[in-house]
C-alpha cells in the first residue's frame, strides 16, 4: 500500500537538537557551560516564603513567544510547553525541517512530560473563587492535561504522524527517545520529534520538596548538588525543554540532512520494588539491555552520563550497577545534574544532548562539587574536572519514581 514503509531494521539517527535549560538556551551556550563546569542553580527566596524546605532551583528563563505564536496557540500552552516549543524550534531548524517538509512527510511526536501543576493550580484557584466552570477559560484544559506538550506542538507544527506523551517520571525524556527509536527502527515512522520538558515554577515541586529530599539551601547554591560525593545530601529541582529529531538513516541521507549521531541501543526495566527508593538490579537490567541491543563491546563505551541526582541511596546504587556491568573497563562517568540540577521529565533528553555536545567537542563535562568518594562511588571512574577526551560512544541513564528505568546508547555517526 502506498505510503506504508516496509523496511523493518532501519538505522536511527539524530538530525536536530534544541535545548532551553538553566545552563543555556542554545547549543553553543550549553556547550560552553558544560565545558566550564558552570552551574545554573540559584536560591529563590520566594520558595522559602511559600513554604519550601529548600529554596534552591535551576534558573530557567521563560521564553517570550508572543511574536512567534498567535494568542489562540499560546493560550493552550503552559510553562512546560513554552520550554518544549523553544527547544523544538531550535531542533527543527538544525534538522532543516521546515513547514513544507512537515506537509509533504509524515512527521510524528513522542515527548516526555509528567506534570502540569501550575496550570491545574490556576484552574482550581478560579473554581474556588467563582464556583463556575464556565469562568475557567478555554485554554485551561489544554494546559492542564499531561499530554499538553504533544497536543500543542502537534497542532502548531501540523504533524500527522505518531502523537503521544510519555509519563515515565524522571525517565520520561529518555523513554521518549527510546520509543521513537523503536518505531523508526521498525519502519513504522521515519521522522519523530522527541524530547522532554519540565515546568520549573514553585507549584511544580512543592510535594517533591515535602519528601525532604532536596539539598538544603544553607550553602552556596552552585555547590549544593554534588552527585556521588560522600557528603551528598539531596537533589536540586530544575527543568526546561530538550528536543531531538530522530530520523531513519535512509530519510536523513535522501534529503542530505546533517547527521549528528546515531541511536544504537535502548534498554528499559522496572524495579518491581519501592515507589521512591531505587535498587541496583532494575537500572542494571536497563543498561544491559541497551548495551546488548547496541551490539557494541563494553570497552567501546568511553563515557557514562549517570542519572545520579545527589541522593545518598540512588547515587550509591547506580555507582554499584555501573561498576558491576563494566567490570574492569572503567568508562569515564559524570552526572551533569551537578550543574543543571535534576531536570526531571526533561532530564533523559537533555542529558543525551549534553553528552552529544561533549562527544562532538572532544571533552567530558565535570561532575562538579565532588570532593570525597564513599564505599560505593569509589568504584567508578568519575570525571571531576573537565577532561579533554575524544570518544565515539556513550551510555545515558535515566531512572524514575515507581522504579521505571531507561538507558540509551548513542554513537558518533560514521
Amino acid at each position: 500500500m502506498e505510503g506504508f514503509i516496509h523496511n523493518i531494521n532501519n538505522r536511527v539517527v539524530i538530525t536536530g537538537m534544541g535545548i532551553h535549560s538553566c545552563i543555556g538556551t542554545s547549543l553553543e551556550e550549553v556547550s560552553d557551560s558544560l565545558m566550564n563546569g558552570k552551574s545554573g542553580i540559584i536560591l529563590e527566596e520566594e520558595r522559602k516564603t511559600f513554604g519550601y524546605q529548600s529554596g534552591l532551583t535551576g534558573s530557567v528563563p521563560m521564553p517570550n513567544l508572543k511574536k512567534d505564536l498567535s494568542r489562540r496557540e499560546r493560550i493552550s500552552m503552559g510553562e512546560e510547553s513554552y520550554y518544549a516549543y523553544a527547544s523544538a524550534m531550535q531542533a527543527l531548524k538544525q534538522a532543516n525541517i521546515d513547514p513544507s517538509f512537515r506537509e509533504d512527510r509524515e512527521v510524528g511526536i513522542i515527548y516526555g512530560n509528567d506534570s502540569t501543576a501550575k496550570s491545574v493550580k490556576e484552574a482550581m484557584d478560579i473554581m474556588r473563587e467563582k464556583n463556575d466552570t464556565a469562568l475557567i477559560g478555554s485554554g485551561s484544559i489544554f494546559r492542564s492535561m499531561n499530554s499538553t506538550i504533544t497536543m500543542n506542538l502537534s497542532t502548531i507544527l501540523k504533524l500527522r504522524g505518531i502523537n503521544y506523551t510519555i509519563s515515565g517520571a524522571c525517565a520520561s525524556g529518555s523513554h521518549s527517545i527510546g520509543q521513537a527509536y523503536i518505531l523508526i527502527k521498525q519502519g513504522l515512522q521515519d521522522c519523530i520529534i522527541c524530547g522532554g520538558a519540565q515546568e520549573t515554577n514553585m507549584f511544580a515541586f512543592s510535594s517533591f520538596d515535602g519528601l525532604g529530599v532536596f539539598a538544603p539551601d544553607n550553602q552556596d547554591p552552585t555547590k549544593a548538588c554534588r552527585p556521588f560525593d560522600k557528603n551528598r545530601n539531596g537533589l536540586v529541582p530544575s527543568g526546561g525543554g530538550a528536543t531531538l529529531i530522530l530520523e531513519s538513516l535512509d530519510s536523513a541521507l535522501s534529503r542530505g540532512a546533517n547527521i549528528i549521531a546515531e541511536v544504537v541501543g535502548y534498554g528499559f526495566s522496572s524495579n518491581g520494588g519501592h515507589i521512591s527508593t531505587p535498587n541496583i538490579d532494575g537500572p542494571s537490567m536497563a543498561m544491559k539491555r541497551a548495551i546488548f541491543q547496541s551490539n557494541i563491546s563494553l570497552n567501546e563505551i568511553k563515557y557514562v552520563n549517570a542519572h545520579a541526582t545527589s541522593t545518598p541511596v540512588g547515587d550509591g546504587n547506580e555507582a554499584q550497577a555501573i561498576a558491576s556491568i563494566f567490570g574492569g573497563e572503567h568508562p569515564f562517568v559524570s552526572s551533569t545534574k551537578s550543574m543543571t540540577g535534576h531536570e526531571c521529565w526533561m532530564a533523559g533528553a537533555s542529558e543525551v544532548i549534553y553528552s552529544i555536545l561533549m562527544m562532538h567537542n572532544g571533552f567530558i563535562a565535570p561532575n562538579i562539587n565532588f570532593e570525597t568518594p564513599d564505599e560505593q562511588t569509589k568504584k567508578i571512574n568519575l570525571v571531576t574536572k573537565t577532561k579533554k577526551e575524544s570518544f565515539d560512544v556513550f551510555l545515558s541513564n535515566s531512572f524514575g519514581f515507581g522504579g521505571t528505568n531507561s538507558a540509551l546508547v548513542i554513537k558518533k555517526y560514521v
Binding site: R71, R72, I75, D132, A134, L135, I136, G137, S138, G139
Partner: protein, 85 residues
Amino acid sequence: MNIEEIIEKANAILVEEFEVDIDTISPEANLRDTLSLDSLDYVDLVVSIESISGVKLGEEDFKDIVTFEDFYIVLHKKVLAKSEG
C-alpha cells in the same frame, strides 16, 4: 456602570485578551470577525466580560449580537438587570 463606562472597560479588556488594535474596534464593526473568534474564544470572551462587570453572558445573549454596538447594548442590559437585583 453607565454605557460609556461599559464600552470603555469592555474595549480595554478585549484589546488585552484578544490582542487586537483598539483602532479596529468601532460600534459598527463585526464582533466575531474583528476579534477572530472561534467557538473556544467565546469562552474567553465570557470570562473577560465577567472579570470587568460581574455579568456572565450566556449562549442566548450572543444570538442577536453581530456588531460591537449590539454587544454593548446586550451587556448594558445585563449590567442594569444585575444592579436592579
